[in-house]
């Protein structure tokens, strides 16, 4: 059970709760998100988003960084990122705290 907000508003800071982490899988040549009884193989986009989850950056900052790095419209990036992160939060693989 967690205490923080359920969905990530722009100011929220996403972080991995204990028991969830990203690992580089050298056998399969990709990044995987590992959690309780879960192993998600990450595609390049998902891995890039989670690379920004460092426990200090807010959702808005992560999106801003991705928009710059991939030269993509901020609205598109924000929609994709929040959908992905909120989906993980719903599966207890990501928590938010208020920024």
């Amino acid at each position: 059970m967690k205490d923080g907000p359920a969905t990530g508003l722009p100011d929220c800071i996403p972080y991995f709760p204990r028991g969830v982490r990203v690992k580089h899988d050298t056998i399969r040549g990709c990044y995987v998100l590992l959690g309780p009884e879960r192993a998600l193989m990450l595609d390049a986009v998902s891995a890039a988003i989670l690379d920004g989850v460092d426990g200090t950056a807010s959702v808005a900052q992560i999106c801003q960084h991705l928009a710059e790095a991939y030269r993509a419209p901020i609205k598109v990036i924000t929609d994709d990122t929040t959908t992905f992160l909120n989906g993980l939060a719903l599966r207890q693989l990501l928590d938010y705290r208020n920024g």
Partner: protein, 363 residues
């Protein structure tokens, strides 16, 4: 056949020793004695081989894994090899001090079993007086140390009606996840099937409870639900397909595609003493026997669910039909489905508590 992928998860049954005697225990009827267990060094080698093979998650189970004095060492080795480590425990035998040592050793997650939410029934099912109280205490220590906690509630005829209270208790214990696991009838559970099979009404009510709880508890707790498959129309995809995602090590070191596979006595399972994990996974006869879909009977070959359930559970075909190569008779299309229905008719006709339970290892 498509290119074979490496396994994602490995279940290591470290021991068959357990303080509990649950009448649905997933261990085989013939239990391995302590002297027959793999030693620390061999397990260490197997864990490293697993990581090299591509295993990501290691589930440490039993019996009761805390009955192994080297549990902390084993976790440290597995964790050092890069494996995500999950302890599957009854909680009995764990102490605050051991939990702290496991924390230091790098344990990632704890899954605690519950035999019920009422102390009396829980202790009766586990065959261990005072067990429920100990479990609640240890659950609090697990989350106090900081481990993420999954509650594994094993449900059947005698406690399925307590599902709402079970979900509430899991929440109280700060679990982030609960497995609502209805007993699957293999091994000891098969012996006790008549006493443990829930009624159709119980199962329908449970499905409704889960459906509602998934809405009210969204964002609070993940609910994984394994319904009793006898009432289903189609079989479950055993292990996501035989030899496709996971493997299992018995206390004695046999490598199995699933924990119940030794019930298929026509198969010869290789031990970690005889070959490397990679060779067993990719090359052994037992792993290749039911892999993919080529081996499937015509009924399944021509079915549009062929790549969904892969003919169902091999151990169930073995248990109910005496032939592991048959379609799982849970399937409505199986010519033998009536055998499952007959068993359910007997369940429906039975009243009261049913036959006396036979407790694991105490028969």
């Amino acid at each position: 056949m498509a290119k074979l992928s490496p396994p994602i998860a490995m279940l290591a049954e470290l021991t068959h020793v357990c303080p509990l005697a649950c009448p649905y225990c997933s261990n085989p009827l013939e239990l391995t004695k302590r002297t027959g267990e793999l030693d620390t060094e061999t397990l260490a080698r197997v864990f490293r081989e697993a990581a090299e093979l591509g295993v990501l998650q290691l589930h440490l189970s039993g019996g009761e894994p805390a009955a192994r004095r080297d549990l902390e060492t084993l976790v440290q080795i597995a964790s050092g090899a890069g494996l995500y480590t999950n302890l599957i425990t009854s909680g009995i035998g764990l102490t605050e001090r051991r939990l702290e040592a496991l924390d230091k050793a790098g344990l990632d997650h704890v899954q605690l079993s519950l035999q019920g939410v009422q102390a009396e029934l829980s202790d009766f099912i586990g065959g261990y007086k005072g067990g429920f109280k100990q479990k609640i205490k240890i659950a609090e220590k697990i989350t106090a140390v900081g481990f993420p906690l999954t509650i594994n509630a094993v449900l059947h005829r005698k406690n399925l009606d307590d599902l709402p209270q079970t979900l509430a208790l899991a929440q109280d214990l700060k679990a982030r996840r609960i497995e609502v696991a209805c007993v699957q009838f293999h091994g000891w559970a098969e012996v006790n099937r008549a006493a443990l099979q829930p009624s159709h009404a119980q199962v329908k009510a449970a499905k409704k409870t889960v459906e509602q709880a998934r809405k009210t508890l969204a964002n609070i707790m993940v609910i994984d639900f394994v319904p009793p498959d006898y009432y289903a129309d189609f079989p479950k995809a055993c292990m996501g397909g035989w030899g496709s995602t996971g493997l299992n090590i018995t206390p004695a070191g046999k490598v199995l595609p699933c924990h119940a596979a030794e019930t298929i006595q026509t198969l010869d399972f290789t031990s970690v003493h005889e070959a490397s994990l990679a060779d067993i996974w990719y090359k052994s006869t037992s792993f290749n026997m039911f892999r993919g879909t080529d081996w499937l009977p015509e009924l399944c070959q021509s079915c549009d669910r062929r790549d969904i359930d892969f003919g169902g559970c091999r151990c169930q075909a073995m248990a109910l039909l005496g032939d592991a190569t048959e379609t799982d008779p849970i399937c409505r299309k199986s010519p033998f489905r009536e055998r499952v229905d007959d068993l359910l008719t007997q369940t429906a006709a039975a009243s009261g508590p049913g036959p006396k339970l036979i407790f694991r290892g105490r028969a």
